[in-house]
């Protein structure tokens, strides 16, 4: 898959994330679609590309968040790096993608918990159980749907090498 195609897919994910995801919120919990994309790229191209994709996509979201500028870039860069550690030259199986996605989305949501959620008010454990875990699971669930959808080929390429 050419990088231009990857860029288009990444941009599509960003646009979906900021326009339509609010409609899928359940009790304020929304999936993070960008994690799906970044994990896919990291598994396909390795940790270096994972960091770069995560950093770039995160910066774009940061420009619209009005919050802590750089937090998205920081979070997704780390997510991309960790996910990239599980990349393989042989390609990415569905199970590998789903396991890595679980780890990647949990990583992203834990970082967001630390930097954004008011854990000093509500407590770590409470927020982890009510916000972080459901958010990570909801994102993973979308990855699960995606991987069995006709668009699954956009997830990852043939593996790095």
């Amino acid at each position: 898959m050419s990088q231009l195609k990857n860029l288009s897919v990444g941009f599509l994910f960003i646009l979906l994330q900021i326009t339509m995801l609010n409609m899928l919120a359940i009790k304020g919990i929304r999936p993070d679609l960008l994690v799906l994309f970044i994990v896919g790229r990291a598994l396909s191209e390795g940790p270096t590309a994972g960091v770069l994709w995560g950093f770039g996509c995160g910066l774009i979201l940061d420009s619209m968040s009005g919050g802590l500028f750089g937090l998205g870039a920081f979070t997704y860069a780390i997510t991309g790096f960790i996910s990239g550690q599980f990349s393989s030259k042989k390609g990415t199986s569905r199970s590998r993608y789903l396991l890595t996605l679980a780890l990647g989305s949990l990583t992203a949501f834990v970082i967001f918990l630390y930097f954004i959620e008011p854990w000093d008010q509500a407590g770590w454990g409470y927020l982890f159980l009510t916000r972080t875990l459901p958010g990570a699971f909801y994102s993973w669930f979308f990855g699960f749907i995606w991987i069995f959808s006709p668009f699954a080929h956009l997830r990852a390429g043939k593996g790095r090498g």
């Binding site: 941009f11 960003i14 646009l15 979906l16 994330q17 900021i18 326009t19 339509m20 995801l21 609010n22 409609m23 919120a25 009790k27 304020g28 929304r30 993070d32 390795g46 940790p47 270096t48 994972g50 960091v51 770069l52 995560g54 950093f55 995160g58 910066l59 774009i60 979201l61 940061d62 420009s63 619209m64 968040s65 009005g66 919050g67 802590l68 500028f69 750089g70 937090l71 998205g72 870039a73 920081f74 979070t75 860069a77 780390i78 790096f81 990239g84 992203a108 949501f109 967001f112 918990l113 954004i116 959620e117 008011p118 008010q121 509500a122 927020l127 009510t130 916000r131 958010g135």
Partner: protein, 269 residues
């Protein structure tokens, strides 16, 4: 040198160096905040993204219009039934106002804006508006909707601006409990919860008491509904109450907001 390091480490260092660079750069952004350069860059990026976002807004808009149409039809019938009662109430209101020599104080200049995008990052409560400097938006302008206080502008581009909601860790609004007339400051307590700090333990706060903006922060105009009290909690060994409020605005369903382009009761910071 690089090769030597790689041999010593027994693995390729490229991902680690990339990660270190990305993390360092992110940290620099986070610690320096939205400085002039990053602020301008992010405002421009938001303008570009907003332009690309518009076609995507059609689908949720269609779904929203359908449900809104149904709702409006129902409301129309209800409003017709209420119209008679309202006429009566207006007359009574007019008479009482004259009696009390009441002067209408609502003199806010409002500018409407549509929401282009919202909550780009999980947990970050913000919205992107289709209004910017060209339409007269300025940083720190209050944003309200028909239900009450929404937040304030924290980033203004040429055609778009970002609103920091009152459901944000970094935004507190000066508020007043409408019945007991005690002032406090809101603080986000997670998800859709707000608490008010600084309320004396002796204050006669009661459940369902309306909370309005006090105007003392110099940002939000006085008298805008913020929420209502849903619980009070006396903190041990403290002179203050912790008052939890339910925000007046259902943030996930807000579609149109208004910028307050004049604040009639600003307090010099």
């Amino acid at each position: 040198m690089y090769r030597l390091l790689e041999i010593l480490a027994g693995r390729t260092l490229k991902p680690w160096i990339t990660l270190a660079a990305a993390v360092t750069l992110s940290m620099v952004f986070m610690t320096t905040g939205s400085g002039d350069i990053t602020g301008i860059a992010s405002a421009r990026a938001a303008d570009i993204i907003a332009t690309l976002t518009r076609p995507f807004g059609i689908f949720p808009e269609m779904i929203r219009l359908k449900s809104e149409n149904t709702r409006l039809r129902r409301e129309n019938v209800e409003l017709m039934l209420r119209a008679n009662h309202a006429d009566e109430a207006i007359n009574e209101n007019q008479r009482l106002r004259e009696l009390l020599d009441f002067k209408k104080k609502s003199n806010l200049n409002l500018r409407s804006a549509d929401i282009l995008a919202r909550d780009p990052l999980p947990g970050v409560n913000s919205i992107l508006l289709d209004i910017g400097k060209r339409q007269g938006a300025e940083i720190h302008q209050p944003v309200i909707c028909s239900q009450g206080l929404v937040g304030k502008l924290v980033q203004v581009g040429a055609k778009t601006s970002v609103v920091q909601l009152i459901l944000d860790r970094n935004l507190g609004a000066a508020v007043r409990l409408s019945d007991c007339r005690v002032d406090g400051i809101t603080k986000w307590a997670g998800h859709n919860r707000l608490i008010i700090e600084g309320i004396p333990a002796s204050a006669p706060v009661h459940l369902n008491e309306e909370v309005i903006s006090s105007g003392l922060d110099g940002i939000f105009p006085e008298g805008i509904p913020v929420g209502e009290v849903i619980s009070t909690n006396k903190i041990e060994e403290s002179l203050f109450l912790q008052v939890e409020i339910q925000p007046a605005v259902v943030f996930s369903k807000v579609e149109e907001v208004f910028l307050v382009t004049n604040n009639p009761s600003p307090v010099t910071p």
